[in-house]
């Protein structure tokens, strides 16, 4: 194959979902050896585009050529046979399988018709080591892995085949900086070997670190293509969102003096150890730390989803019973969980029903739900968040990832909460929407609501928080003022003292 024929060529692709035209004639190409970044706001059609290439969905019109040859559409095994390897945005592993089995699902090494398990395990170990995760055991069940580790397994799976084209749909969303850096190392090496890479991310700073060219997609169309990777950030944002986003972060919340939430010595072995903190009305408290530090578990304990081994949680001075999220909600706490798909939403339900689930009583008179009132109220909240689409009758599954996140947030907007616990609220959310969510958080705190934000993006924590708590290996190890904290400072608390130098070195 000559070098100038693109590795992948997508011509005039359209994709019509029932009621939605996700792609409206997209042209796109990837050359061998380049990393081509794909940007675009939530719902732009990025995932749809790459799913057409990987064979998961069949495009309505248009054609796809790999190495100049037409690719049969709608058949994942065909795409894989042609050297297309894909890491999907939503985790796509069978959780019931072991790590090695997941990685080799569909192309198991065989001996005498049986799986060659030792070969599978050896190759799995090699792959995981290459990704810096020799610690993930080949025999572990995928179900038992943290989301981040599952993502690593997904990546390993894509690499387990001989790929010519590697597609990565927001692989970094749930990885921490160190892991992302390792991943980039692998990607760079593959590109050097002539593999073409499509890289999708909402973290714009990653573009110049890894990308060669950039294509921006918006509303199912290419709005810019072939941009150099060092295009200034502001310009990219403007192309994506169609407007300038001057100020990502609103004014910092000040907070008041009255303590709303008081967490005292909460422990849950082995992930949370003796955590105590207070949150005041009108304050935004950020919780930072490395992936796996135990932040999610801490929020679950506060919310009453899990029962702590020791410790108590007080809301407005009154103790919350453990293990009773329903009581926590009644008393005014809301939680937007980290994994919206498995924990936040009923994907088969309409947006309206998802938003109203925690506050049905508001629409109920004499035991009877008023569907009209429900639809109106939920629609209003969805519009407030600029959800696309904002039709309350749409099925949640059909929304793009970022918009699904907004549906979860809308639920707690609908209910007047005293305390909001947000676990990675902007994961997978585009810049425009991020700005909206930040604005929203600021608004809520201005109304006197206490907000707790868990985030893996240090920048976000610094931009938003009144105070930042740092969690490390289950303990709250530091408290910093949001205004004055620096990234280096945050990181040095987040990693174990002995490793500090290494990390600071690596992340620069």
């Amino acid at each position: 194959m000559s070098n100038d024929a693109p590795l992948l060529e997508v011509r005039g692709i359209t994709k019509q979902y029932p009621g939605v035209r996700a792609l409206k004639g997209v042209d796109f190409d990837v050359r061998a050896g380049e990393v081509h970044c794909l940007l675009g706001p939530n719902g732009a059609g990025k995932s749809t585009l790459i799913k057409c290439v990987s064979g998961v969905v069949a495009p309505t019109e248009g054609e796809i050529l790999v190495e100049g040859q037409l690719l049969p559409v709608g058949e994942p095994s065909e795409s894989m046979a042609r050297g297309v390897g894909t890491i999907y945005q939503e985790l796509d592993l069978v959780e019931d399988l072991r790590v090695a089995e997941s990685i080799f699902l569909g192309h198991e090494p065989r001996r005498f018709g049986l799986m060659d398990r030792s070969k599978m395990k050896a190759e799995t170990r090699a792959l995981l080591e290459r990704l810096g995760h020799a610690d993930i055991g080949a025999d572990m069940f995928v179900r038992s892995l943290r989301p981040a580790a599952q993502q690593i397994v997904s990546i390993a799976r894509a690499l387990s085949r001989d790929v010519k084209l590697l597609i990565m749909d927001e692989p970094s969303a749930i990885l921490d900086d160190g892991e992302v850096e390792v991943l980039f190392g692998v990607v760079r090496r593959l590109a050097a070997d002539g593999v073409g890479v499509i890289y999708i991310s909402h973290r714009l700073d990653e573009i110049k670190r890894i990308g060669d060219r950039v294509t921006v997609l918006s509303d199912g169309r290419t709005v810019a293509t072939g941009l150099p990777a060092d295009t200034p950030r502001g310009e990219l944002v403007e192309k994506m969102v169609g407007r300038r986003v001057d100020q990502l972060y609103p004014d910092r919340a000040k907070g008041s003096d009255d303590v709303v939430l008081d967490v005292r010595g909460v422990s849950h072995a082995p992930r949370v150890k003796e955590c105590s903190f207070e949150v005041r009305a009108g304050e935004v408290v950020g919780i930072g730390g490395l992936v796996g530090a135990g932040r999610t578990e801490l929020l679950r304990l506060v919310y009453g989803l899990d029962r702590p081994d020791t410790g108590e949680v007080y809301l407005d001075g009154k103790k919350l019973p453990s293990g009773r999220p329903d009581v926590a909600i009644d008393r005014g706490i809301g939680l937007a969980p980290e994994d919206r798909k498995s924990q936040g939403l009923l994907l088969g339900w309409s947006l309206s029903k998802n938003v109203s689930l925690s506050d049905l009583r508001r629409f109920t008179t004499g035991g009877w739900i008023s569907l009209k009132a429900e639809r109106e109220a939920t629609g209003e909240k969805l519009r407030e968040l600029n959800t696309v689409p904002d039709d309350p009758d749409r099925i949640t599954r059909e929304l793009s990832g970022g918009n699904q996140q907004k549906v979860v947030l809308a639920r707690w907007l609908l209910r007047d909460c005293r305390v909001l616990l947000l676990d990675e609220p902007t994961r997978g959310v585009d810049v425009g929407a991020k700005a909206e969510i930040y604005r929203l958080i600021a608004e809520l705190s201005a109304r006197g609501i206490a907000v707790v934000v868990v985030s893996s993006e240090m920048e976000e924590l610094m931009g938003l928080s009144t105070r930042i708590l740092i969690m490390r290996e289950g303990e709250l190890v530091a408290e910093l003022a949001g205004e004055s904290a620096t990234e280096v400072e945050l990181l040095s608390h987040a990693v174990a003292p002995t490793d500090t130098d290494v990390v600071l070195e690596e992340t620069r």
Partner: protein, 324 residues
């Protein structure tokens, strides 16, 4: 229960957004029913297509129908209740033991026994965390054993219970009373499922129990409740059945669970939970009752009936697929 004028009014907004409520599957079942009626009319003429026979079909369907309404709630939570057939027998016998205390006591006893057995199912499943299939399979055996034991294996005559017999054989404005009971149960079920927070919670628990819990739904309590509901429906079905038979037989109700589950599933409620439709269930019940009635009228040999019934079920479902 008072019927407030608000009821029809609250219904009104539905048409505007009806696309989802009355879905393709329901339409398909309506088509299946229409085809059955046409074919039946051609083959059997007026002995099939007559008000009398339709009421007969619906009256017969009403017993399994009541069970199917309760089963819809159970299946909506991704559960299953295999014990309803046995519970019908046990409830009937439990009531029958009080035959000398009059009609009301019979009914109270039958319903209370159903609730009690359902509560055992519910407790084992929600608090004991036993898989519904196994818990209700155990109850299938236990309830049948109880029915045999309490009745000393002999049917109990309920000839003296006029009101109970009325439920089986009476009429309200020429409509068979058991059909009226079924329709009332179905209507309550519909309201409960589609218009009350409880119904939302039931479907939420079936769709994604973890998400439901995080949203504040008391998952265990909901799980418990649907089995109690199913037990209550078994009690109601027992009253209807005993009323028709004028006796409480410990061997009755055999395999009703399969009929009820089949009606629910063919109606479009997903066995995986999270999707439930009462209208579909009612249509499913009618479909099965019609098929059975038609085959009996045609007086086919039993083996041909079975093959035909199997074939019709398959065809009906394939037709549904096609149209959705």
């Amino acid at each position: 229960m008072t019927t407030t004028p608000a009821a029809p009014a609250a219904n009104a907004p539905a048409p505007a957004r009806s696309g989802r409520k009355f879905n393709f599957q329901d339409y398909a079942l309506v088509a299946v029913i229409a085809i059955l009626i046409i074919v039946g009319g051609i083959l059997e003429g007026s002995s099939f297509v007559s008000k009398d026979n339709f009421f007969n079909v619906l009256r017969q369907g009403s017993i399994v129908g009541v069970l199917a309404i309760g089963m819809t709630f159970v299946i909506a939570t991704a559960g299953i209740d295999l014990s309803v057939g046995s519970m019908v027998a046990a409830c009937g016998v439990a009531g029958g033991l009080l035959v000398d205390s009059g009609d009301l006591m019979f009914i109270v006893a039958a319903l209370a026994f159903g609730i009690a057995l359902g509560a055992i199912n519910g407790a084992a499943i929600s608090y004991g965390k036993v898989v519904p299939f196994i818990a209700t399979l155990a109850m299938l055996l236990i309830a049948r054993g109880l029915a045999l034991w309490m009745s000393d294996k002999t049917p109990i005559s309920l000839f003296s219970l006029d009101s109970v017999r009325w439920f089986g054989t009476g009429e309200i404005l020429t409509i068979p009373s058991s059909l009226v009971v079924f329709l009332v149960v179905a209507a309550i079920g519909w309201v409960l499922l589609n218009r009350t927070p409880y119904g939302r919670y039931v479907v939420a628990v079936g769709g994604n129990p973890e998400a439901a819990r995080i949203a504040g739904v008391k998952v265990q309590r909901i799980l418990f409740s649907v089995y109690v509901l199913s037990g209550l429906c078994a009690g109601i079905a027992a009253v209807l059945l005993c009323g028709r038979l004028a006796s409480a037989s410990p061997v009755s109700g055999n395999l009703y669970e399969l009929d009820a589950i089949a009606a629910v599933v063919i109606g479009g409620t997903s066995l995986a939970g999270g999707r439930a439709t009462i209208v579909g269930t009612v249509l499913g019940v009618i479909t099965f009752a019609l098929v059975f009635n038609l085959l009996t009228l045609m007086n086919l040999a039993v083996e041909i009936q079975q093959v035909t019934k199997g074939g019709i079920i398959l065809a009906a479902v394939l037709l549904q697929r096609r149209s959705s």
